[in-house]
Symmetry: C2
Subunit: 206 residues, 2 copies
């Protein structure tokens, strides 16, 4: 079974890279699908699951408990319950033994024993802002400054969430196999090149 | 013409990646070859050229003159003379219009207008120390601590040298197309995967 995990900066196109890569390789694809599974199982609203998982509300408390986020004292924290549930879903995906691409959720750390090819996707701020604008809903009119603030806020939360389960820093070069900077890169073509890389990588591992 | 530039942390195996990649692709390969050309042209000792180019002796002065290292006031600094000479040789290599891999020397910045595929190669400290030990001469007996100190010193000088010509940080993810972490990776197999990536990348650019 081949697993590719994709972490990414908000606005870098990481999700698109993951989606295209899964299509090109014929792999299963998981991103928000994981949220949907959790929501359905527990009769929760998808938006509630997502916002709770990505919130940073209690991160400062938990940071001192790194590596022990499953400690009983946290069991009644909704974020911890959902993180544990998320881990369970990700473990089930891996147990299904099907090739897949998983975007986000620190799957590279959670599935480290399955030796995934772990990729981090980034871009410079100008191109992330540009990308966010291109993808904005018609009624959204944020200034560049507001978009930048939002990007930094989301990425800060991702960073803090990662600290709960690993000391392998979010977005640092030692934490992944590959870091790809999508600035000025056509993501469709990049994904094709990446597919070739992944095929060669997994062929060697066998 | 396709150019691949490789920057790397000392001990990460970046040079080997570059060499293998050049072989697999049938590209010209430049690393110390550039030092040899400079030394030969000016009747200098290769070791002198190399140590002067990699020294950090005057970097603190020059840092405040970033982007202007060719300023006349520096013309009689040996390091500046050699940096300019190095730039000249790299420009000549690019002008020859042959596909090539260039390791080090901030060629990604010097040849930015040729749109090279720019790669940075890194690894965690333990595997860099291991690699240095495996490659040590028989009469070399340095402790892990000494090797680590040396790795950090060399990389610090590389970082400072880069600051002389660009504000694109050395080793930061925004400064390259790809960052590859060679930790626990077989470099021979990695190079094969990277070759596939490079072929797809350049095919698209045409």
């Amino acid at each position: 079974m081949n697993i590719i995990t994709i972490s990414r900066e908000f606005g870098s196109g990481g999700r698109e890279v993951g989606k295209r890569l899964a299509e090109l390789l014929g792999y299963d694809y998981y991103d928000k699908e994981i949220i949907s599974i959790i929501a359905e199982r527990h009769g929760l609203d998808e938006k509630y699951v997502e916002s709770t998982l990505s919130s940073s509300q209690w991160s400062n408390v938990a940071l001192s408990f790194r590596h022990s986020f499953s400690s009983p004292i946290y069991f009644h924290e909704p974020k911890v319950e959902l993180l544990l549930e998320q881990k369970k879903v990700i473990d089930e995906i891996a147990a299904s033994n099907r090739n897949c691409v998983i975007v986000g959720r620190n799957a590279d750390v959670l599935l480290a024993d399955k030796e995934p090819l772990s990729i981090f996707v980034c871009a410079d701020m100008a191109s992330k802002i540009k990308r966010c604008k291109e993808r904005a809903e018609e009624n959204e009119h944020f200034s560049d400054r507001e978009i930048k603030k939002n990007i930094l806020r989301i990425d800060k939360n991702r960073k803090l969430s990662r600290y709960l389960i690993t000391d392998k820093d979010w977005g640092k070069k030692d934490s992944y196999h590959l870091i790809i900077n999508t600035t000025d890169w056509d993501i469709k073509e990049l994904s094709k090149a990446l597919k070739e890389f992944a095929v060669a990588y997994f062929n060697n591992k066998k």
